[in-house]
Symmetry: C2
Subunit: 145 residues, 2 copies
C-alpha cells in the first residue's frame, strides 16, 4: 500500500467484507492454557480470484487460502504484520475502529503479562469481540484452575 488512495480503498474493503478479531486457542503447551491469536481476514468468492489477488498483493502481509466452500480468505496472522496493517488502515476505517483499537490493546497488554490475573484481563478483552462481531459461537473464557 503505497499511497493514501490505496490505503483508503483497503480500509473500505475491510469495512465492507473483512473481519478483525482475536481468538483464544486452547493449547496446553502455553503457560495459561491458551494461545492468543489475532487475525485480520478479507473474504471473496473464488469467481474474482485474479482481481482479489491484486488486492492481496497490494497488502502483501498475509496469505491466501481457499476454504472448502470455495470462499477465498486472505489471512493476516503474524503479529508484526497485524500491527503494520492496522496502523496503515486505522485512519481511514469507519466501521471497524473499535475492533482495531481492541486488537491493538490486547497485543500491547500481552507483552507485559506477569501472572494469571494479567492473563485473565486479556481473556476478558478478547471476550469483547463477541459483542462487536456478534458471533454466537464464541464462548466466554476463564482460566481453568
Amino acid at each position: 500500500m503505497k499511497n493514501k488512495i490505496q490505503k483508503a480503498y483497503i480500509a473500505g474493503f475491510l469495512d465492507g467484507d473483512g473481519s478483525i478479531y482475536v481468538r483464544l486457542k486452547p493449547n496446553s503447551t502455553y503457560k495459561y492454557g491458551f494461545q492468543v491469536a489475532p487475525y485480520v481476514v478479507l473474504f471473496q468468492s473464488q469467481k474474482s480470484q485474479k482481481d482479489f489477488e491484486k488486492i492481496c498483493s497490494l497488502i502483501g502481509l498475509g496469505y491466501l487460502r481457499i476454504r472448502k466452500d470455495g470462499i477465498l480468505e486472505y489471512i493476516i496472522s503474524r503479529k508484526k504484520a497485524i500491527y503494520s496493517f492496522l496502523k496503515i488502515v486505522k485512519p481511514f476505517v469507519i466501521l471497524k475502529k473499535e475492533q482495531i483499537n481492541l486488537t491493538l490493546k490486547i497485543l500491547n497488554k500481552k507483552e507485559s503479562v506477569k501472572n494469571k490475573n494479567d492473563f485473565q484481563k486479556i481473556m476478558n478483552l478478547i471476550d469483547r469481540f463477541r459483542k462487536l462481531n456478534y458471533s454466537k459461537k464464541r464462548k466466554k473464557h476463564t482460566i481453568t484452575p
Copy 2:
C-alpha cells in the same frame, strides 16, 4: 464524496460488500413488458447502523432501508444517481469493473431503443449479470411474443 480518499474508500467498500446489477421487472404498462431497473446496493448489519449512516451520507445518492432479516441496505436506484455514483467510483474499483461497464452500457443503450430487437439486445446484456454475480435465481429473459 469530496476527495479521492473518500472515493477510494467507497470503491473498496463496494468491492467488498456491494452489489451492482440491472433487473428486468415484469411490468405490463411498459412497451416491451419489462422495466429496466438498475441498482447499486451496499449492505451492512444493523449493529453498525450509526457508522453505516455516515458512509451513506458520504455518498448521498440513495436511501437506506432495513430488510426483514435485519440487514441494512443502502440502495441507489435513480438513473441519474447511478450514473453519478458509477463515474465517481469507477477509477478506484478493482473487483466490480465489469459490472460497472455493463450497467453503463445498458443505460446508454436504453436511451436509443427503437424496436423489439433493440430491447432484446438489452435483455441479453442484462442476462450477463447472472455470470458476473452468479445468482442462481435470475432467469434468462426473452420477450414473449
